[in-house]
């Protein structure tokens, strides 16, 4: 059994079959199945998401202290970093902790991309190949073949009207803006600013390249993140937070 077979057995085929079964339960609408699967994935990854939200909230609460440190050690970057790490350690916060939910999503994206392309079976060969990947569940076989139409989208193809790209980019920007802690030095500030723009632009661009079924997953996932962040932290996070470098720019040497 090769790595591809193991991948299919453990991740690929379960995602594919669950997606098709959901489609049958949700009135034959494959788009609704993708939305439902997104919610299920987010529920499964909730422990990781909660850790991320805890970190975000803790970082938010630490902002006054971090700004104090910035004022105190602003001219000595090394000392500033040391003091910040000390503060993070004391508070039990890992500033990189919010990366885990993102990393966990990668295999899900790959599995979902494969599942969408396989389930929609746009060519005769794909439809025939699908036969060997399906479980014997009635609910799965009765749903075949699936319709790729959902709202204005053909879920097997990119959205030609760019609407989904704007939604994915916009929600990603908002989600990042809510969680991105203000930088403690100008260099980091500029990196943050670039990241804040680059990620939404990149995902917006990917939406134009990939099947809109996958982009629908991104959009719904982003919206769920925004909502959970809002209710968990009780605010819009850093959305309205202004970095000290925006009001008091540090002059270069």
């Amino acid at each position: 059994m090769g790595p591809g077979d193991i991948w299919n057995l453990i991740i690929g085929n379960p995602v594919l079959n669950v997606l098709i079964a959901l489609s049958h339960l949700l009135f034959g609408e494959f788009g609704l199945a993708i939305i439902a699967l997104t919610v299920i994935v987010r529920l499964i990854t909730w422990p990781l998401t909660k850790r991320q939200l805890d970190s975000t909230k803790a970082l938010q609460d630490m902002q006054p202290k971090l700004q104090e440190l910035q004022k105190k050690y602003g001219k000595n970057q090394q000392k500033l970093q040391q003091e910040m790490m000390k503060l993070y350690k004391e508070a039990g916060v890992n500033p990189l902790g919010c990366l885990w939910p993102m990393l966990v999503q990668f295999p899900i994206w790959i599995a979902l991309y494969q599942a969408i392309m396989k389930a929609l079976a746009t060519t005769p060969e794909n439809l025939l190949n699908l036969a060997q990947r399906l479980y014997s569940w009635d609910i799965v076989n009765q749903a075949i073949p699936l319709s790729s139409r959902f709202l204005w989208l053909d879920l097997g193809r990119p959205d030609p009207y760019w609407i989904l790209a704007i939604i994915v980019g916009g929600t990603m920007w908002l989600q990042q803006k809510m969680t991105q802690a203000p930088a403690v030095d100008p260099r980091q500030q500029s990196t943050n600013r670039m990241m804040l723009l680059m990620m939404p632009l990149m995902f917006g661009f990917l939406t134009l390249m990939f099947p809109s079924g996958l982009a629908l997953y991104w959009a719904v996932s982003n919206i769920i993140t925004i909502i959970t962040q809002y209710f968990f932290t009780g605010s819009w996070g850093y959305l309205k937070f202004r970095s000290p470098f925006q009001s008091k720019p540090v002059k270069g040497k």
Partner: protein, 357 residues
Amino acid sequence: MGGWSGATVHDGVVYVGSKDGRVVAINSSTQSQSWNYTINAAIYTTPIVDGDLVYVGTYSGQVLALNTTARSQQDFTSLQKRYGEWEWDCPIDNAKSNAIVADLLVSDDAIYVSSSNGRVYSLGKEFGDLNWESKILDEKHGKLWTSPVIQDDTIYVSTFDGHIYALSLETGDLLDWSFKSEAGFASSPVIYGDTIFLGSFDRHLYAVKIGSDVPMWKFPQEKPAGNWFWASPIVNEGIVYAGCLDGKLYAIEAKTGEELWEFDAKNPIVSSPVLMDNLLIVTDESGTVYVFDLSVEIGDEVVPLKTISIGADVRSPFCAQDGLVYIRDENNKNNQLYVVDIEKGEVSWNFSLTKEE
């Protein structure tokens, strides 16, 4: 490009669609190419010869009529429309969604085409002029990838959304009767007497009496088979022979749906079985040809008369004539047409379908 066009034999010439999008005519006595015509689109339909014309449907949505006689005599590279309308192509529509996947149906009067835009077209045989078109499915519910079948003055179509529709042969109008199943139909319908037999995605073979709202029977009767009934069954002397993607060939009593026997080929059976005299010929996806003698009673232990392995990927329809079976290999590397001699139990000759540079 791809496609799984099968081969057809007419007057000693084999016609087949190649994976690189050509219609190739091969002289079977010299085993050499008579002519080829480049379409530049995948071909899923098996060519059909009628009179001087060979008809082919393409994945780009065209129906072509190529003149077999004229092409055998001259070296044409394009369609020859100038000399007495020898040949024609018929763009049903320009959209890619109109891909033709199902085999064409050629009757005495017209050509019937199932299209990926959910419509059935009736075209004139001589010039490809449109007689009628009938919208069976809307865009959301999909494509027609199964061939229609005719009985008397009615044309029957099975759909991926689980319907069998009856259309007027003359006008294409939907008639009153239709049948609805819970699951989609994977195979084209086959009519025997007043009953339609066809395979489903729900892992059953259906027998539906024309005019009835409920199936006459579903096979298997207890639990579903191991996979879809993708290939159309064939019916001979009251027995339905159906290949299944679970690798089994089933022989079923047409009236009752009772299983008479089954044979496990162990590899998916994608192509429909073929009858040649008293011989039932079946191929599995791994390129093993099984031959069953129907003139002798098949007992509890089903043993094929011949088992011939050609080592090809077989998904295309195949044909049999004069003791020879014509099988197209789906394998990209081999890309061959195999001609198997049933009597000798070996490949008689093969022809490369890769275009020579």
